[in-house]
């Protein structure tokens, strides 16, 4: 078992890096990349499943020559829940990339792209299993840098470079907060091991400070509003399988870090729950509203990741409220909902990004308003996107409904408590979740309808359906979504161990709480199967009715207009316009007041744009101010080497004097 763990963590990086020099044999590089990713996935899934089923904790410890920390790994239930979507998505992405990257990397050394991808997968596996702060930070940094390298795949384009730069800055600001977190905690405990953190009882002030540092550090990776600004820029420019991996599981590493730090800090305080629920409400609603205003398919999906991270934050917040107020059912349900949504979101977001990549690959554009009618040319991709859309809107019979149901149940449990703050937070949770669900349905009907249905809106050259290697991962992910949606009841007790760990209750009690929910999950399964049966019966009934009657085709009714064109269809911007204008003040949308002016007007353009308020009003002015302030110090960088040697000498002398005068 430990061998499998080592294999799944280190093999992808090692093998793919070894193939980098084989520039002349790209087929070998691709083959090696895919095979090692698949092998590591199988090993990793097996290990994680065994851990969840048996409840054992795998540990591994080795010394190393670094000045601090130790090489200790530990795989418990919480890590296993995050390893499962990681390895499913990495396998799917690797198979997808076989065909997707064939043309885009011609003339370049493809080994680099495969190596960055596999190093990213390895580093994420290491982040989840590390049980020492120093090792965690090293793995976190490798994850950030390798994802930066993956995002820069199309580095010839300016937009790609700018997005990667924003991403690099954002992730390092987050890592700075994590450094503060681990250094502070390590100074208090005397060691950087997670087990030492868990044993040490932090004072309320210390744990509050650590919670804030962890929230900012991990939250910026997860994509909580207002730290989300890098997400919608970095995910669209990366290759689609990388976007699927980043959006599906890399942002969940932030959630993992937050959960792990909450476990280590123990003693939850009530305001943690309030803060997390508020962040969840704001992220969820802001994410989906910003998504509604997007014109680029992949950027729309990236904003939806922000929304779903908001839903996960709602679950974590509900769980935190349950722990701090001593309501075990609320705690277990909230954390179960959050954990399940981590897995579910990875699956359906991966599916959506892979189908969006298929569209981009075939039609060479991701602009929604330039596409249309793709369902006839690309039926498999359309089916994949439809399954992903139904799942992300949280509709039965797919898996998105199950995790939202669990978070709703947590909200209902909070609503029946007698303490007013829990009641208020739960009411806000339920209201926001309902609004998020409705708006998500608006957004995905817009995306699916405009891209796949109707007539093509521009003369893009005739797109062809993707090949089998790009379709197979979509089928696989869709099948898993359906299976979880229909049969989650028996699988639910695997969440008992991690939920119990998070909710600070014994896992037997957590299993009991989950057991109380099992009849509802069974009812949902019956209802979903009843729905499928009803639909099948009606389909057969209609077929029987129409078998003896005339069935013809004709053109769409356009009020008798004689020459309809595809440009008369509703565009995506028009579809979203009622919602955007209703929320206009909140989103900072300035309505386009101009119009054709004179009696013989010149050609006129209309452009709708939903700005990202945080980027424009907070971050860009702040960075400009910092730049202006620091530019006053530019005289220090004279460019002459002897001046720098003088700086080194002065600093050394100052340090020596400090050591002499104040020896402690």
């Amino acid at each position: 078992m430990k061998l499998f763990l080592m294999l799944c963590i280190f093999a992808p990086a090692a093998v793919s890096t070894a193939t980098i020099p084989l520039r002349a044999r790209p087929n070998l590089q691709r083959f090696a990349g895919v095979v090692v990713a698949l092998a590591a996935s199988i090993a990793g899934l097996w290990t994680a499943a065994c851990t969840l089923v048996t409840g054992d904790i795998l540990t591994f410890h080795a010394g190393w020559t670094m000045p601090a920390g130790s090489f200790s790994l530990s795989l418990d239930g919480l890590s296993a829940v995050f390893l499962i979507p990681l390895f499913i998505l990495s396998a799917a992405g690797a198979v997808y990339a076989l065909e997707y990257m064939k043309e885009s990397a011609s003339g370049r050394n493809q080994g680099f792209a495969w190596a960055y991808y596999n190093i990213l997968v390895s580093s994420m596996a290491l982040v989840v299993t590390a049980s020492n702060g120093f090792l965690f930070l090293i793995a976190w940094e490798i994850m950030s840098v390798s994802s930066f390298a993956c995002v820069l795949h199309n580095h010839e384009q300016t937009e790609s470079r700018e997005a990667a730069w924003i991403y690099l800055v954002a992730t390092h600001i987050g890592t700075a907060f994590l450094l503060v977190f681990f250094l502070f905690a390590g100074a208090r405990c005397g060691s950087l091991d997670f087990s030492a953190f868990a044993r040490h009882g932090f004072s309320p002030h210390a744990s509050s400070f650590l919670f804030i540092a962890g929230l900012v550090g991990f939250g910026s990776k997860a994509g909580f509003v207002p730290f989300h600004v890098w997400l919608p820029r970095a995910h669209p420019v990366a290759p689609s399988h990388v976007s699927a991996l980043m959006s599906g599981i890399m942002i969940k590493m932030g959630i993992y870090g937050l959960m792990r730090s909450m476990v280590m800090l123990g003693h939850f305080q009530p305001w943690w729950g309030y803060l997390l629920v508020s962040i969840g409400c704001v992220s969820g609603i802001a994410g989906v509203l910003l998504a509604l205003g997007q014109h680029d398919l992949k950027r729309l999906l990236a904003y939806h990741s922000v929304e779903n991270i908001g839903i996960i934050a709602l679950g974590v917040g509900a769980g935190a409220l349950g722990v701090s107020y001593g309501i075990p059912s609320l705690a277990v349900l909230g954390f179960c909902g959050a954990l399940l949504h981590v897995v579910n979101h990875a699956l359906f977001k991966g599916l959506l990004f892979l189908s969006a990549g298929s569209v981009l690959h075939a039609a060479k554009t991701a602009r929604i308003d330039a596409l249309g009618g793709l369902i006839k040319k690309m039926p498999a991709t359309a089916m994949g996107f439809l399954v992903g859309s139904i799942a992300i809107c949280g509709l039965p019979p797919l898996n998105g409904f199950i995790s939202e149901f669990l978070v709703y149940l947590a909200g209902f449990t909070g609503l029946s408590s007698s303490s007013v703050p829990v009641f208020g937070m739960s009411a806000a949770l339920v209201g926001s979740l309902a609004l998020i669900g409705g708006l998500a349905a608006a957004c995905f009907t817009k995306a699916f309808g405009t891209v796949f249905l109707g007539e093509p809106r521009s003369n893009t050259k005739s797109p062809r359906e993707s090949g089998p290697f790009m379709r197979a991962p979509m089928y696989g992910l869709g099948a898993i979504c359906l299976i979880i949606g229909l049969f989650f009841g028996p699988l639910s007790h695997f969440l008992a161990v991690p939920a119990g760990l998070l909710a600070s209750v014994p896992s037997a009690q957590a299993a009991h709480e989950i057991f109380r929910v099992t009849p509802s999950l069974a009812g949902i399964s019956y209802g979903s199967m009843l729905l499928a049966a009803a639909v099948a019966a009606l389909f057969l009934a209609r077929k029987a009715l129409l078998s003896k009657r005339p069935v013809t085709t004709s053109s769409t009714w356009g009020c008798g207009y004689g020459a309809p064109t595809p440009r008369m269809q509703y565009t995506a911007s028009s579809f979203a316009q009622p919602v955007i204008s209703f929320f206009g003040r909140v989103l900072g949308v300035k309505p386009d007041e101009s119009g054709p002016e004179s009696p013989f007007p010149a050609p006129w353009k209309f452009h709708s744009h939903v700005p990202d308020l945080f980027l424009d009003n907070v971050y860009i002015p702040a960075f400009k101010a910092v730049d202006k302030g620091l530019s006053r110090l530019r005289w220090l960088q004279g460019g002459k080497v002897h001046r720098y040697v003088l700086y080194i000498a002065v600093t050394l002398i100052a340090l020596l004097m400090w050591n002499v005068l104040w020896p402690n």
């Binding site: 509709l395 209902f412 009411a427 579809f575």
Partner: protein, 305 residues
């Protein structure tokens, strides 16, 4: 055992059999206000039978989504009828938290109707679909909070308990929640003041225009699904406002049926005396209903007595 099965199945069977009467009642009431005699009470049944005997014409822009839309939306409506109890009968499908399953089944219905509308490639359907998703996005939190305020009073999370035997909750909660649910009924079922079901101007339609291209059995499925949805919303509103129970099941069924018909009459009165709201005023109506539902929730907490 057989008696139990029959007892449980009566609720969906009543819904399937009697739902089109409500639309007939609304039409009769509107005709009365207009000084006409109006169509017969069972006209909806005659329309459905006529439509089922027709053929079908499909647009050449549309794909399998257009053909799947009516089937999936009626299927979701049929399953939703299995969740809400009629009079003192049981339901075939009941579990804790089935409120959310009900709301999401309506969501499935809406999702497939909207994408079937977008499949035609016509601007009319696109316009109706765009307005529909906006109003239903606002109506959904209002609906769930209204249902929750009633549920909290019972207290239970099964619709079987809330709308069946449960008579919990204060009068204030039930009145506020009932008003909220009435407003949501008008919004979700395309009634004035949100949408005019009798208009012939496509640019002003919301629900009617989304199904403009369907005909024959497809349109029969859609009309029947819409009448089932109206039945379910009326049943929820009636049971919230009047949570009584008569002695025997037969008396109870007759009384509930009469209340449903009376509520349909009230909807007809509202349709006759009011004009339809401007589209930018509809969110304000829904926001007002939302405020009422939050008040209902607070009354239930006992914060404000």
């Amino acid at each position: 055992m057989a008696q139990l099965i029959v007892f449980r199945l009566m609720s969906p069977v009543a819904a399937f059999a009697c739902a089109p009467v409500l639309t007939g009642m609304i039409a009769k009431t509107k005709a009365f206000f207009a000084g006409r005699r109006g169509p017969p009470l069972f006209q909806s049944y005659y329309d459905l039978i006529k439509l089922l005997q027709k053929g079908a014409v499909y647009g050449d822009t549309s794909s399998w989504i257009f053909r799947a839309g009516p089937v999936v939306s009626l299927g979701a409506a049929l399953v939703a009828c299995c969740l809400i109890p009629f009079a003192s009968f049981g339901v075939p499908l009941s579990f804790s938290g089935d409120l959310i399953f009900f709301a999401c089944l309506l969501g499935v219905m809406r999702f497939f109707t909207v994408i079937a509308a977008l499949d035609t490639g016509s601007p009319f359907e696109g316009m109706g679909a765009s307005r529909e998703v906006f109003f239903s996005a606002l109506a959904e939190p209002v609906f769930i909070l209204g249902l929750l305020s009633v549920a909290r009073g019972v207290p239970s999370l099964r619709m079987d308990d809330i709308f069946g035997a449960g008579i919990g909750g204060t009068l204030a909660t039930r009145l506020l929640a009932g008003t909220t649910l009435f407003a949501v009924t008008l919004a979700e079922n395309a009634r004035i003041p949100v949408d005019d079901p009798a208009t012939h101007l496509e640019l002003t339609m919301i629900h009617e225009v989304m199904v403009l291209d369907h005909g024959g059995p497809d349109f029969a499925f859609i009309t029947y699904g819409a009448s089932l949805k109206l039945w379910l919303f009326c049943l929820i509103t009636v049971r919230t406002l009047l949570p009584f129970h008569a002695a025997s099941p037969i008396t109870d069924s007759i009384l509930t049926a009469l209340c449903m018909v009376a509520l349909a009459g009230i909807i007809g009165v509202v349709e006759s005396v009011m004009a339809r709201l401007r589209l930018i005023r509809v969110p304000q109506l829904l926001a007002g209903a939302g405020a009422l539902s939050v008040l209902a929730l607070l009354f239930g907490l006992g914060v404000m007595r």
